[in-house]
Symmetry: D2
Subunit: 280 residues, 4 copies
């Protein structure tokens, strides 16, 4: 008995749910959850995520994929099939601030983040001890603004990671890096995008006198802090807050937004579509 996760996206058209659920039924599967969204019922884009149990021995992943591809082809849809419980490989990049890194590693150790972690790369050597306490490979690559050493990072990441998590990685990745890696990269920005892009967002928030701060987890694209948003976390502040307390509150927000985003991604609940996301 396996559980499968099926993702499908295409132009909206009649009969998609019927055909897909019929395919599952005929594969002797039982739907556990089905989420579906259409950006516009009259001619928009369609997204579907189905989790189903297949209790027949015939239903191996290969056969299912073959049949699924036929259905997808019919609708000119992009479809993927995942076996639930087969973890993705999440490479991690982190600079000196360690709160997001520590949170991820803690969740990983607890089994609350169902991933493999092929490596942690950092331009801060001091993280080695923390990473090695978790029996994970640590690579110190002293990248900085004048030498981003992206080639080394790519060569480590490309073969081993299904996606990257930037757990407060303070160097902007070049468009070349993004293209060359070719898979999803998830960042945490310590501001409530689209407010306060770029440097020192908490200082910016303080200067503007806002009463709410936030953190944003998003896909990395070539534009700075403009990629599709996956999760945001917010908290009220007051005039009493200074930079120290904003940073303190902010670290909690960053941990929450990043771990929410990673959990959604890992559970295959995230669709990217143009500049936005659909999160089931």
């Amino acid at each position: 008995m396996n559980t499968y996760i099926l993702l499908l996206q295409c132009k909206d058209q009649k009969g998609i749910v019927a055909r897909v659920s019929d395919f599952i039924f005929k594969s002797t599967g039982n739907i556990i959850t089905l989420d579906q969204y259409s950006s516009n019922p009259r001619g928009g884009y369609f997204f579907m995520r189905v989790e189903f149990i297949a209790d027949d021995k015939e239903c191996n992943t290969g056969k299912l994929e073959e049949r699924l591809n036929k259905v997808a082809g019919y609708f000119k849809a992009k479809a993927r099939l995942y076996e639930k419980g087969v973890p993705l490989s999440m490479g991690i990049l982190a600079s000196k601030p360690d709160h997001c890194l520590a949170e991820i590693l803690y969740l990983y150790k607890r089994g609350e983040l169902g991933v493999n972690i092929p490596f942690v790369i950092s331009n801060f050597e001091g993280h080695g001890r923390l990473v090695e306490q978790h029996n994970l490979p640590f690579y110190f690559i002293p990248a900085n603004k004048s030498n981003r050493r992206e080639k080394e990072i790519i060569s480590l990441a490309k073969g081993s990671a299904d996606f990257l998590a930037l757990a407060r990685y303070m160097l902007v990745l070049s468009p070349h890096f993004i293209q060359s890696f070719g898979k999803d990269i998830i960042n945490i920005h310590h501001g409530l995008l689209p407010s306060f892009k770029g440097k020192n967002p908490y200082q910016q928030a303080l200067d503007r006198g806002v009463k709410v701060i936030g953190a944003t987890s998003h896909f990395v694209t070539a534009g700075l802090d403009t990629g599709p948003i996956i999760a945001q976390a917010v908290e009220e502040i007051s005039h009493k807050d200074d930079l120290r307390t904003l940073l303190l509150k902010g670290r909690n927000l960053e941990k929450r937004a990043l771990s929410d985003a990673l959990r959604a991604y890992i559970e295959h609940r995230v669709f990217r579509f143009k500049d936005k996301t659909v999160i089931f």
Copy 2:
């Protein structure tokens, strides 16, 4: 071109989504949104809400219902079909506090609450003016603890209301009333249930020294404040709050929780199941 909303609930079993979506497809319908939930994938209870457009002239409600009943019968399911935009009739009962009543009437006037309001019944005569400003029938029934005058209320409500909204109605409805009315009754309780049942929940909250207060909208059952919860709203408080400010904050919470619950109910997004609700 009509939009229909289909609700179905039954014991979980294989092929429900397939069969229902096939029925919609064969009725030339196009699914706009499909929500589905199973309380336990291995032998629980199954809930489904489908919104679909039917663009064929054949697809009148009568025919659809006939075909739907066949599908439902196959799964021993309870199924209902609504034409979107056909409003329910919501009878309102309110005592002296008027914030929930005023909120509902405002939303009604704005067209943000898609209902008909066949009547507002109150044991506070002063609400007459507000109700009549909205061109709605007002009935002053001076019910009180020693004479609840439920017979009169039932006789007004039974024929004309699909469900009742208690917009801060301060008398407990008797089990006989509930049974005799026989349809859903939605209440707003000014406390965060299951904490602070019964009288003066804000005073109770103050006495206990909580740091969060809330309001709860729920279905009325024979037990006091124990019916299935539909919506809750919360807000942080501090030692600075006294009864006056709790009441002030509370009124906003009550308006939010009640209007969220009513909106969900009116849009056919609420399933009752035993002591709980499923809200799509």
Copy 3:
């Protein structure tokens, strides 16, 4: 027995609290609440709000002010004294959207907003009925982009209003208006500033794919939507939200942020300082 509210702001220096509380003590007053904030303990700016009861017949407002001015003079402070319960006059400007206007009038009627309302001015004639139901003067001034008719508004407002509330007034007030009126003007912006300034903030939020929306109440300054922020309210959204549901949620946020800001202002809990506010 009167209750007084004392506001004082100046450069931070030693002994302010001591001297002010001594002044109150010697005026036979008893401090109920004292709030105080220093933007930087080593050489910043100092803000204080004291609420005190004066139970002596000698302590009339005139005498208190005289003595207070001596204290303030000593610190080169700006000080004000208010008798609690003496309401400010709040002029209202509103365009067609009526949710904020209706909320304010409801709170006013309930006695939850301790102000006088000398007038409601609107460029939408239809609000007349609502305003007159509250026995308040209504002025229809058909201002629009090509003719803002600010002269008429000023001539109505200047003598009668202590401050203005813009309850969704859709025309930008000119710097000349702001200067000529010379008192505080509080606006509600339907976006989470500094994100989404200007037009159609909910559409902007939708386009950007944010997961949190908000509303901002702020003082009006010559810059568009850049004045000191008084209150912000936020709510989570998802991909399921479309413009209609954003507007719906947004209206609630606007009502909350505006009424929070007005209540704070009316209770003399708001200090303006450069581009920011201190809210006790």
Copy 4:
């Protein structure tokens, strides 16, 4: 130049702020923040917290305390004086669940929790490694329901800890323990008190079908989960949540409520008064 924190509580009476701030002024101190609260301006209880810089060499803690005691004596007040930056000693008790323990140790390591930790006591031996990675003394005391081994814990704690933090300690402390330790004990309860006292609060929340869950940090008293509440954290849930996801969300809430409460306590911002707290 030292910063001092002064706490004072007594029956409300005239002139307290004046006299205390005068005492600070005459001690050549400068008030940084002053918070004050009266439970009832006409005859309630009065609480004050003042943070002040004393820049004179004369102003050592001993002399200040002496003078302060005179002021306090005058008002029959309970007064305490702390030198800011002198950390309290926080003993930790934890059972098997490690999320709160790990959070506290992480914050401690980061310097975000200004305490000394004289010991971590656990009835789960496996925590030894984590604690020792932080160079802190770990004591494995295999307490259980039939043998709580409180004597051993007291003998460790009494001399070395200013207060205790129960970071998910699953055994109820006896009234004898509480009395014998004689200092504050702060607990984290994994439910939104007063709802869901005692065992398995998340299962209780699930059974009741609530739409909001929470965690509560409170002082331990002889009654089960009835002590004065310091902090609460809440999060919305839906029918989709099952016990696993409630536990996941709950762990975050527990970490937030406990670390908020500990931070407030450590910064001397918490007053206990009867069954409640005043948190500045």
